[in-house]
Amino acid sequence: MAKDLKEVKNIDEIKDLGWDELIPGAALFSFTEPVEDVVEVPAEERPYAPTNSHEWQVGDWRVEKPVYNRDLCIDCQFCWVFCPDISILSRDKKMIGVIYEHCKGCGICVEVCPTNPKSLLMFPEHMENEEALSQWPKKEEKK
């Protein structure tokens, strides 16, 4: 009979399932137990099931990474709204950084950031964030 994916604690338990053990319908469960009022529960406290895409990290697709500069950010939340991968971390409407496990490096957050200079910029994947912050451009003068 189909395996109850809700009870799976470790991704390796389902990697080798046979066709007769899968739950029909290409349906996957998000959490290992019911979560009440999920919006109020911070991501790190949610009981993500191994089948939840949160557990599948796609950050290694990236060639450039967005680096975040707290000193310039006005907490407008544009980047949080527009990130297609929910990779911008925001707490109490304050930006606190980028989740590099999930960020695919598409650059949309940088594109929508309205500050001058931008509070998010793309840098080569191999560069340390401190170095990137030290190279931050100056304000662009209006022409």
């Binding site: 399932l17 319908g25 349906a27 996957l28 998000s30 979560v35």
Partner: protein, 405 residues
């Protein structure tokens, strides 16, 4: 609660009205539909029932058939009973979403009024659309008259929603000849019909917010194969459930359905194998041939997918020659039905002569005389013990005779 619709013991309904009443009696929660000839009256009647208070559910008017099936997929994944109707080009436009529905194991019911595919544009009946969707992973049921369209639509819900099946179901009927021809239909009363179909049993629903699920996930090479194997396995094993529900329906109504439909096949030497309304004409042609001493019979399918290979081979096990009647443009090969029944017989070690007739495209009339001609060809081949006429012929086509092989 929806109002009860007072029905007579015998109603005069065309196939569209029959299908519409079956959807009403099943108390579908969501019908998302876009009209297309000749299936338009199904959803038109349905929306009238809804406006008059005979339906509890929602009717969503969408902007295309792609959206109609998408709406049904969404509603079904959300956890309710969903159905729609279509034909021809609309069916073709749904094709992408048909695969989503079956892959996601959503027991949607689609009533298909079969019609030719363009170009040239044609609103009349043939089976091109049925063949187009035959490998979409749906159960396919075939009806030949309004009574069967009604009966099979009711049964479709019960079959698809069975916990061992959980697959979408199409119910086919012929454009105009069935969909627009009024005949006597014996309906069930509302309570009895709804009791037969039963309450909807949701499984892994999206609106169960305490147990969130993702539907139609991306699986790539990791799990795609396993999911498809499971789907195929459950489809191939749905015969048992289909037969069980045919039996339950028989107990209630006295009307018998089986995977394969046979007529005078016990001692037949030659047989016509057809789908749709032609089956009834072929029965008359067979009777007339029997008066002339030709042992003629008719075989047809109730269930086109899953394809009942064994039953087809058994039904044809003693004939010397059989005509596979394909009401669809063959597109550069033998007709689809020809290929399937030839394969079924070959796999069971039978090798009668199989002829392929392409007929009735775009609503071209197929008369009993033409079908008698088919039996005469078959009789000649049966007596000679080999194919003495071309293997693929076109029936009722203007101009010089067209044939291949």
């Amino acid at each position: 609660m929806a109002k009860k619709y007072e029905l007579n013991e015998i109603e005069v309904w065309d196939g569209n009205m029959a299908a519409a009443h079956a959807l009403r009696q099943a108390q579908v929660d969501i019908v998302a539909a876009y009209p297309i000839t000749p299936s338009t009256p199904i959803v038109q009647n349905y929306s009238k029932f809804l406006a008059d208070g005979y339906v509890d559910g929602e009717f969503i008017m969408v902007e295309s058939e792609h959206s109609a099936m998408s709406g049904c997929v969404a509603a079904s994944a959300a956890g309710v009973r969903a159905a729609t109707a279509t034909s021809s080009q609309g069916f073709a436009l749904m094709a992408e979403v048909l695969y989503q529905a079956s892959g996601m194991r959503l027991p949607i019911v689609l009533t298909v009024v079969n019609r030719a595919l363009a170009a040239p544009l044609n609103v009349n009946g043939d089976h091109s659309d049925m063949y187009l969707g035959r490998d979409a992973g749906w159960i396919n049921l075939c009806s030949y008259n309004p009574q069967e369209a009604y009966d099979l639509t009711l049964m479709a819900f019960k079959i698809g929603e069975d916990l061992n099946v959980r697959l979408p179901v199409m119910v086919h009927q012929d454009g105009f000849i069935c969909s627009h021809t009024a005949q006597n239909v014996r309906p069930l009363q509302d309570e009895e019909a709804h009791e037969f179909v039963g309450e909807y049993k949701p499984v892994n629903t999206m609106l169960d917010v305490a147990n969130p699920v993702t539907h139609g996930v991306q699986t790539e090479e990791d799990w795609h194969f396993e999911h498809k194997a499971r789907q195929h396995n459950d489809l191939m094993n749905s015969f048992g459930t289909i037969k069980k529900i045919f039996n339950e329906f028989k107990e209630r109504t006295g009307r018998t359905y089986d995977l394969v439909y046979t007529y005078k096949m016990d001692d037949a030497d030659v047989a016509i194998f057809a789908l749709g309304t032609t089956v009834e004409s072929a029965r008359i042609a067979a009777d007339k041939m029997r008066e002339k001493g030709v042992k003629a019979g008719v075989v047809s399918l109730r269930v086109f997918r899953p394809f009942p290979f064994k039953e087809v081979a058994e039904a044809l096990s003693n004939v010397k020659a059989v005509a596979a009647m394909d009401r669809s443009a063959p597109g550069g090969t033998f007709g689809a039905l020809f290929n399937e029944i030839s394969a079924a017989m070959l796999a069971h070690g039978k090798s009668p002569i199989v002829l392929n007739y392409i007929y009735g495209l775009g609503g071209r009339d197929t008369t009993i005389d033409m079908l008698k001609g088919v039996y005469e060809d078959l009789d000649k081949c049966a007596k000679a013990g080999e194919a003495v006429v071309p293997m693929q012929q076109f029936l009722g086509l203007r101009g010089p005779k067209l044939s291949f092989y």
